[in-house]
Symmetry: C2
Subunit: 424 residues, 2 copies
């Protein structure tokens, strides 16, 4: 069923400063596309079935622009280290287990089930370097009904023996095989070029990855300027680059013709910011992770005011949960600490700003996604906020704000639709 | 039933740096007091009934050292303001509604039910200035089985017409009436002297409150050095005081013979810190609130290393939820931002540190509370962390850390015991 009407209290972003609300109204889905939100059902749609979610909140599906599927197993564990040590002592050891397809099946099944049962409808996901495990993850994610990009990770240098590809050629040929197998295999699941980060990918490998992105016409994802030690390391590795971002750009993996999302951008230089803006690179802001790994706070107000392409990421397992509701709340919270502790001219983000980033802002990476404006792909989440009783009258927007700050995605998620398909 | 044994995977703090864990073990409650944790049931207790929570986590009850019951209704709403504006535009208007006993009953019933169904077993709670509503809150809280201090708030100056007591005498006499009515009325619920904060209490009123605390032999709670504008205001109001804390101390409401808990201490001067230490004043660290109201980050590592009396508060509704699990996680998170952004010599708090603060640290305000060491009052919470499946083997402590970071109190709370009474 891809033609139907949702009835309930509907909220969605118009732009980064405005949340539209429509109480007791109708969102109309025809051929997986939204025809708009109406207070009465227009005549032309009056024969469509109505799914009645009266008194419940209906919001666009949320986009998670950055997360690591193999790290889901250690969400909320062992975060007493900063990035580079955390990678070596925790992350790489866990990711190495995915050479075992049995372990991968067990772990990825848990992950796929959890993401399916969250408020997320779209995601950009890192797998590991392992070909078979990555294909398995794609099979599992396809079954969830969510729309995702999934990347086999590339790592051919500066990585431990347990988690490294034997050469640039081997990494590139594995990636090519994987692309041939998967690029047209699924309806909702697509491959994305995924160099882990500059320190773990040789120039030779990066060159191959840039060519693969171009020849298969697929997007790219990676990490950028997350931690100061990491940035110093990249400077040593790439003395000729004008910025960390430029180290991706010189291989064609930084926007322009290759749609690209870069996670973090906590310590991006003005030069790097300019380059992202020019090339239309998406930024995945990951406040939970940036706090947990003591990376700092990204200058998100600057990016927002500069009209950069911008969304939110859970960055599991630097982030402690998959919840995009908590990513919204944390985005606001860390922007307040940025204002208080770093730059008092950077006004904290409003609730409207942060909700926009988790819906329409990040959704743009997937096309017309993240809104109930006419013509958007129909992704919707239904939240029963009666799990949070209150004595006073509240507006629909107040109920939404309260539901997001109070984790109603964990307790009150009632239904989810992705491209017009009911997934839960 | 106050004599029983809990069986499960038990975790509790020994001191601020160590979490004891005992897999598949027994915590023994006799006459509401813990007799210790054992891997086998000692002979002398072998006739006690065993409540079997095999494979579940059993932890001490959590203490919330600071929260506002009347603000629960607007948790997660309207936090785009800093403290003094937030009080005037949101808080005081909502609190004024509690002059209406009907509204108070409706709202406080929702609050009491939510706190009962949380992992909190002990709390220091602000009510409002209203006598009847405060007594109603005490009745409702007594029914939950939780052990709480509840304060009728005092405000006789610098407050809006809708929320002010007509004179110092009226405020003091209402408080005295309330104390006479409630000081011996309940088993688990006790009154606590509660000047809102220095700006809203005249010297004359503070003098009366100091005398009431002494004559009724009851503790005190208030706010301290939360926000820089507030501190400046106190300086103007109390030009002779050596610190904000001293403005309480001169009326006998700052530790020593009057057990006292002060919320926040984000911007305490060295002089004020010294005074708190000398007088044994408890600090209620409220990271969620201090972030939401852009107050800043309290120097919690300094307080911990200085062996000050210290626990955590949700500070609802500056804090967005009642969850003490999220208060633990936020304590660690903001300590990392403090380390990164303010003082790189202040090591971030460990998980052990923060768990200690929410259990044994804050519990000390209530006596021997917050641990399963022998002789402690028996408060326990049972968490079913199977709601968070994982592929790998985890230790009990890892499961605890994961459960706390991932909100298992919202999804997996299975049972709660307070002073040996099962409350849920």
């Amino acid at each position: 069923m891809k033609n139907f009407i949702l009835k309930g209290d509907i909220c969605f972003s118009n732009d980064k400063n405005i949340i539209n609300t429509a109480e007791n109204s109708y969102a109309i889905c025809v051929d997986s596309v939204c025809k708009g939100v109406f207070s009465d059902i227009p005549q032309e749609y009056c024969n469509l079935p109505v799914l009645d979610y009266t008194d419940k909140l209906i919001i666009p599906g949320l986009t998670d622009l950055h997360l690591h599927a193999p790290q889901f197993s250690f969400c909320g564990l062992s975060m007493d280290l900063e990035l580079l040590e955390w990678l070596n002592k925790n992350t790489f050891i866990e990711e190495s287990k995915y050479s075992d397809s049995g372990y991968a099946r067990k772990a990825y099944s848990i992950f796929a089930d959890a993401l399916k049962n969250s408020a997320t409808t779209r995601a950009c996901i890192f797998a590991t370097i392992h070909l078979e495990a990555t294909k398995l993850l794609m099979d599992l994610m396809e079954n969830t009904g969510l729309v995702t990009y999934i990347g086999k990770v590339n790592m051919d240098r500066n990585s431990p023996d347990i988690l490294i590809e034997s050469s640039a050629q081997k990494s590139a040929s594995d990636t090519e095989k994987w692309l041939i197998d998967t690029v047209n295999k699924y309806q909702n699941t697509k491959p994305i070029i995924t160099p882990r980060f500059i320190p773990s990918c040789s120039d030779e490998l990066m060159e191959c990855l840039g060519e693969l992105a171009k020849s298969f016409n697929i997007p790219a994802q990676s990490h950028l300027s997350e931690n100061k030690d990491e940035i110093e390391w990249v400077k040593e590795l790439c003395p000729d680059c004008t910025s960390y971002g430029n180290a991706y750009e010189k291989f064609g993996l930084f926007g322009n013709n290759t749609k690209t999302v870069m996670a973090h951008c906590v310590h991006s230089s003005d030069n790097e910011i300019e380059l992202m803006k020019k090339n239309g690179v998406f930024i995945a802001h990951c406040p939970k992770s940036n706090t947990n790994l003591s990376s700092g706070i990204a200058p998100i107000r600057k990016y927002l005011d500069n009209n950069m392409k911008l969304g939110l990421g859970s960055d599991v397992a630097g982030g402690e949960t998959l919840s995009m509701f908590s990513s919204i709340a944390e985005t606001i919270k860390v922007s307040k600490l940025y204002f208080r502790l770093i730059d008092s001219s950077a006004q904290p983000l409003t609730f409207e700003n942060a909700f926009y980033l988790a819906t329409k802002g990040g959704g743009e990476f997937f096309g017309k996604v993240g809104s109930f404006d006419k013509g958007y792909e129909f992704d919707a989440v239904v939240i029963d906020d009666s799990v949070l009783p209150h004595p006073q009258k509240l507006s629909v927007k107040e109920r939404l704000e309260r539901a997001i700050y109070q984790n109603a995605d964990l307790m009150g998620l009632k239904a989810k639709f992705v491209r017009g398909q009911k997934t839960i």
